[in-house]
């Protein structure tokens, strides 16, 4: 918000963002276009774009004169791209959900935010049309941290709707922050897929010359059109270079860096494939679901949102669990230390989590144990404290990532209330989230 005097003056002069003005202050005068107020700027500053392209902030006071020179709606116009359909080429649908990949500068908030129409989006990546016929649809426009349980179901249904049309594959544009949650959730909700669904994000917004979006999209499109892979996977940069991307298993990945292009890494797993910037594909996975356009997807969008994640730390108090029990939570993933420990001091029962966990399990809550080490599997035998924890009725989540265990627990609780069935489903590998072997090359 502008300061009161500045706002009053702008209203009086009918000056809005995008208008051309002349601002006279003392001996100096500046001609330029008024830019929208940015949140981080001072309230008494009017921001204008000078003719030389620079923005400067001018301190407003009662002696500053603002003169409107003209109205121009120069903002917010982007090139668009008309579709042409080539029957010889495969067809890919790009579904947008928002996020950095569909972002550009937003002058209202002063940051990057989703703003492209699909036509504008395609116009930015014309090279994609060389690989396939590209269709594009926006199904929602949110930052990935705002994803919720109704939206997971919505995305799954939209994918099913399109994939039934006999497409060669779907690219799902998604914000990166919670992309690994969505990838896992969609793997559970959409089983037996006839064609690939590749989640693609970007760590640098598409309005930058250095955006990673172009390569991530091109690699996803090449992977869809040149391989027989089906199912859900993720396509992101392999390293900081634009040399190629990795196709990553949807249930065994994690965002491991706040800002790097290669933030997504496989956890207790190998990549599915490597796609070069030249379009060459190196398949790494040996067993995977093969593409078959005649197959029908098994769609199951049931999920229980009353599931939480609790991280263990040395002085974590077990009373934390009371909150969840009181608020009707039906499932908890405890991200334990090391092999899956929780504080279990025999000397000081008040500090031990074991009685509290036993109580919530008895009350009907499902508790799954994962590890905050990220890599490696949990274990319920090696130490006494692990065996004591096992005895409370928790389920050790094998080598599932916390995110996969969390989404799986939501999914399982959405489908059954029977404790035996819950345990059976949790420990059955549905979409590659549990593996029995961990290889040397998988870490770090």
């Amino acid at each position: 918000m502008y300061s009161k005097p500045l706002e009053k003056m702008l209203r009086k002069k009918k000056v809005e963002a995008g208008d051309d003005v002349r601002i006279t202050k003392e001996k100096n005068s500046y001609a330029g276009t008024v830019m929208p107020k940015s949140e981080s700027a001072d309230a008494n500053i009017i921001l204008i774009k000078l003719e030389n392209g620079y923005n400067i902030g001018i301190d407003y006071n009662s002696k500053v004169r603002i003169e409107k020179l003209g109205t121009k709606s120069r903002l917010e116009k982007f090139p668009t791209h008309a579709f042409t359909f080539d029957p010889k080429k495969p067809t890919i649908m790009i579904l947008h959900t928002g996020g950095t990949i569909a972002s550009r500068v937003d002058y209202k908030t002063g940051g990057v935010s989703p703003a492209f129409t699909p036509e504008e989006f395609i116009a930015m990546f014309p090279d994609l049309t060389k690989i396939a016929n590209i269709k594009s649809r926006m199904i929602m426009n949110i930052a990935s941290e705002d994803m919720d349980h109704t939206r997971y179901g919505h995305i799954a249904k939209e994918i099913e709707r399109d994939i039934k049309l006999g497409l060669d594959g779907i690219i799902l544009g998604h914000g990166t922050d919670t992309l690994h949650y969505s990838a896992a959730m969609l793997s559970f909700m959409l089983q037996n897929l006839p064609a690939p669904v590749i989640l693609v994000g970007s760590q640098r917004s598409s309005d930058r010359g250095s955006s990673d979006a172009a390569l991530n999209l091109a690699c996803a499109a090449n992977f869809i059109t040149k391989t027989d892979f089906s199912g859900v996977a993720v396509c992101m940069h392999e390293n900081p270079s634009d040399d190629g991307c990795l196709i990553l298993p949807a249930t065994k990945i994690r965002k491991m860096h706040t800002s790097r292009r290669d933030a997504f890494r496989p956890v207790n797993a190998n990549p599915i494939a490597r796609v070069g910037s030249d379009g060459k594909i190196e398949m790494i996975a040996e067993n995977y679901l093969k593409k078959d356009k005649k197959r029908n997807t098994i769609v199951n969008v049931n999920m229980d949102p009353k599931v939480a994640i609790i991280k263990m730390y040395p002085i974590a108090e077990p009373t934390i669990l009371d909150f969840y029990l009181k608020n009707g939570y039906r499932g908890i993933v405890i991200e334990g230390t090391g092999l899956g420990h929780v504080p279990a001091s025999p000397e000081d029962p008040k500090k031990s989590w074991l009685p509290s966990i036993k109580a919530v399990v008895k009350a009907g809550m499902t508790v799954v144990i994962t590890s905050q080490t990220i890599h490696g599997a949990t274990n319920k035998h090696v130490y006494k404290n692990l065996r004591l924890l096992e005895a409370t009725g928790v389920i050790f989540g094998e080598d599932m990532t916390t995110e996969a265990a969390y989404t799986k627990l939501c999914f399982v609780l959405g489908n059954t209330k029977d404790p035996a069935k819950i345990k059976e489903m949790l420990l059955t590998n549905i979409a590659g989230e549990i593996s029995q072997r961990r290889e040397l090359r998988q870490f770090p």
Partner: protein
């Protein structure tokens, strides 16, 4: 070709732009040290850059042009001077306040207008010199004035910018850059469009901007730390930006040649018009590879062996024009060739040049026939890899189409001889958009007042002050530009030694010693001042300065006092001198008897052997005369 140009008459206009690296602790937008690494890179990464629309929805022409070239960029990573910000893997940190304050100082020195808030902008540059695809830049001052010798030059913009990455290699498809340089703060000072001046005046303006920038004492020195650009136009011409003029003197030549170039291009335009050349006469390039199948030309054989293509096109009504000189050593044909080279081919071959050396006259005749060449036309061929050849042909064709109407607005790179070569179209203001990752920097009244208190003396004023001390203008200038400026100011301020003597030691003696291989850089400011204090107190003689400096350089771990004691360079008193002289006189009494007149001259040398550097020679001479006289007076016993 016009050589004596009346610059007023042709309406010469130019602007001068100076970029100077600042000596800050850290880079402008990250915590890396702002310096060039002395080590080898520890690794590389590869990137591509894309053209994107700016905030007004327009794709900048210069950016679009780069994108078409489709080049891969390799970036060298340095252990200490490259971090994730430099490789665009982490958002930039807030702008370095030290750099902003230095530029603010300069802006205030030029009495510029200071905005209430500094907003960092992204300037699209996708030639790879910035990993992010843009250079970050911000205006710190507007509407300043450069004043010198009663002249005033308008300085519309004073900006702080990040330095680009340094180019290491360019093989056409792949360009290698080093990332230690990227992000070092720069100050950019540009004059407005100046009229009614000669090219020589630009040299003076650039010189004075350089002086001003150095007065802050907060700029880096050495090769490449300052860069000069000029933009030039004439009436009926267009704005052309010449980047990277290496030396001050070359600025004059670069402007002269550019004026000549634009005049000649105007003549080309007029000639084409009078010949009736028009857009409809242009044709698409055609594949003429087949015509060269049996070529004897080594060049062509190589092209065909590599499975490359040869394309040709006819430039209707252009016959003879490609031979025309634009400026010394540069024909229009050579200039067109640069547009092709920029697309990754070797150049162009055309019928306006002597083709006998290439051994391809016969084939060219067939190409001409194939393309329907007429007498007034010029036929051009381009050879190279398929896609690039087509791009190169189109680039040359577009340039020729423009020649009918105007001189293209473009960025040209300065060569060492003052000529220039095409580098890219001139970017417009649509290549600037806000850097939203960085919060605005508020310039408060307090900050301005605080900075104003520390504004340095300008070099013009300094020069005047030194001249008043009795130094020549040349010597004053030399000191100001030298690394000993601080030493000189220290000595003048803290001792009573004459300015002339101090200047001669710092400028001449130090230079001589360095040439002899003495490590004079070991004499730091503190020690230098100490030496001059000892000189003032007559604890060492002026004659000994040379030896003292050598000694101090040789024993950097010792104090000046320890060194001069060790080397026996401490002065002696007149009494001690008299004792030494008496001894010499005694021993040489026969010489004195024999040759009364020249005895002093002869003995002076012997005495000096004992006391050189320890006492003033004049005193030695005077006491020697006295003692020699005494020896007569007393006479032999």
């Amino acid at each position: 070709m016009t050589v004596n140009i009346d610059y007023q008459k042709i309406g010469l206009k130019y602007g001068v732009e100076i970029h100077q690296r600042l000596a800050t602790t850290r880079k402008l937008f990250c915590a890396c040290p702002a310096r060039i690494s002395t080590e080898q890179p520890i690794g590389t990464i590869n990137r591509k850059l894309r053209a994107v629309a700016g905030e007004l929805g327009l794709i900048d022409m210069a950016a679009a042009y780069e994108f078409i070239r489709n080049r891969m960029f390799t970036y060298q990573i340095f252990k200490n001077e490259t971090c994730l910000v430099d490789i665009d893997e982490e958002p930039p940190h807030p702008i370095d306040p030290e750099a902003v304050k230095t530029v603010l100082e300069l802006a205030l020195l030029m009495k510029a207008d200071i905005p209430g808030e500094i907003h960092v902008m992204r300037k699209t540059v996708i030639d790879g010199s910035n990993t992010s695809g843009f250079q970050r830049t911000a205006i710190v001052g507007l509407n300043g004035v450069l004043s010198y010798a009663n002249k005033k030059v308008f300085i519309p913009v004073i900006a702080v910018e990040e330095e680009s990455a340094g180019i290491v290699a360019n093989d056409g498809d792949n360009v290698t850059y080093r990332l230690d340089r990227l992000g070092i703060p720069l100050v950019e000072i540009s004059t407005g469009l100046l009229q009614g001046l000669t090219p020589k005046d630009a040299v003076e303006i650039a010189y004075h901007i350089g002086m001003l920038v150095r007065s802050t004492g907060k700029v880096l020195r050495g090769l490449g730390t300052i860069r000069q650009d000029v933009n030039v136009s004439i009436d009926g011409g267009n704005r052309v930006e010449i980047k990277g003029v290496q030396t001050l003197d070359l600025i004059e030549k670069a402007i002269e040649y550019e004026a000549q170039r634009q005049l000649a291009l105007k003549e080309v335009k007029d000639e084409l018009k009078s010949r009736g050349c028009k857009l409809e006469l242009f044709e698409k390039p055609q594949d003429v590879t087949h015509i060269f199948a049996d070529s004897k030309s080594k060049f062509i054989k190589k092209i065909l062996a590599e499975n490359n293509k040869i394309y040709g096109f006819n430039l209707a009504k252009f016959g003879g024009l490609l031979k025309k000189d634009l400026c010394p050593g540069k024909t229009f044909g050579k200039e067109l060739s640069e547009y092709a080279v920029a697309q990754g081919v070797g150049g162009i071959t055309h019928t306006d040049e002597d083709l006998t050396n290439y051994q391809m006259d016969a084939e060219m005749d067939r190409v001409k026939a194939f393309l329907g060449h007429e007498l007034e036309d010029c036929t051009v061929i381009v050879a190279g890899q398929g896609e690039k050849v087509v791009r190169a042909c189109n680039a040359v064709l577009e340039r020729c189409k423009t020649a009918l109407f105007e001189i293209p607005r473009e960025v040209r790179a300065a060569n060492e001889d003052g000529t220039t070569k095409f580098s890219r179209p001139l970017p417009g203001s649509s290549r600037l958009y806000p850097e939203t990752d960085i919060p605005p920097f508020r310039i408060t009244k307090n900050l301005i007042e605080e900075t104003r208190k520390h504004i340095p003396e300008t070099w013009d004023k300094k020069l005047g002050r030194f001249v008043k001390m009795g130094l020549t203008k040349e010597l004053s200038d030399q000191i100001i530009r030298s690394e000993y400026l601080n030493d000189f100011e220290n000595i003048i301020k803290n001792t009573g030694v004459s300015a002339k003597f101090a200047a001669s030691v710092l400028m001449s003696t130090m230079t001589e010693l360095r040439r002899e291989g003495v490590k004079v850089e070991k004499v730091n400011e503190e020690k230098m001042l100490e030496i001059f204090k000892l000189l003032e107190a007559k604890k060492i003689g002026k004659e000994a300065v040379n030896e003292v400096l050598k000694g101090v350089s040789k024993y950097p771990m010792q104090t000046v006092d320890e060194t001069i004691s060790k080397l026996g360079l401490k002065t002696i008193s007149k009494e001690e001198l008299r004792a030494i002289i008496r001894d010499v006189v005694q021993k040489n009494i026969n010489v004195i008897k024999k040759d009364k007149k020249s005895a002093v001259k002869k003995l002076m040398g012997t005495v000096m052997k004992h006391v050189r550097g320890k006492i003033d020679g004049k005193v030695v001479n005077q006491i020697l005369i006295e003692e020699v006289k005494k020896s007569h007076a007393v006479g032999p016993p």
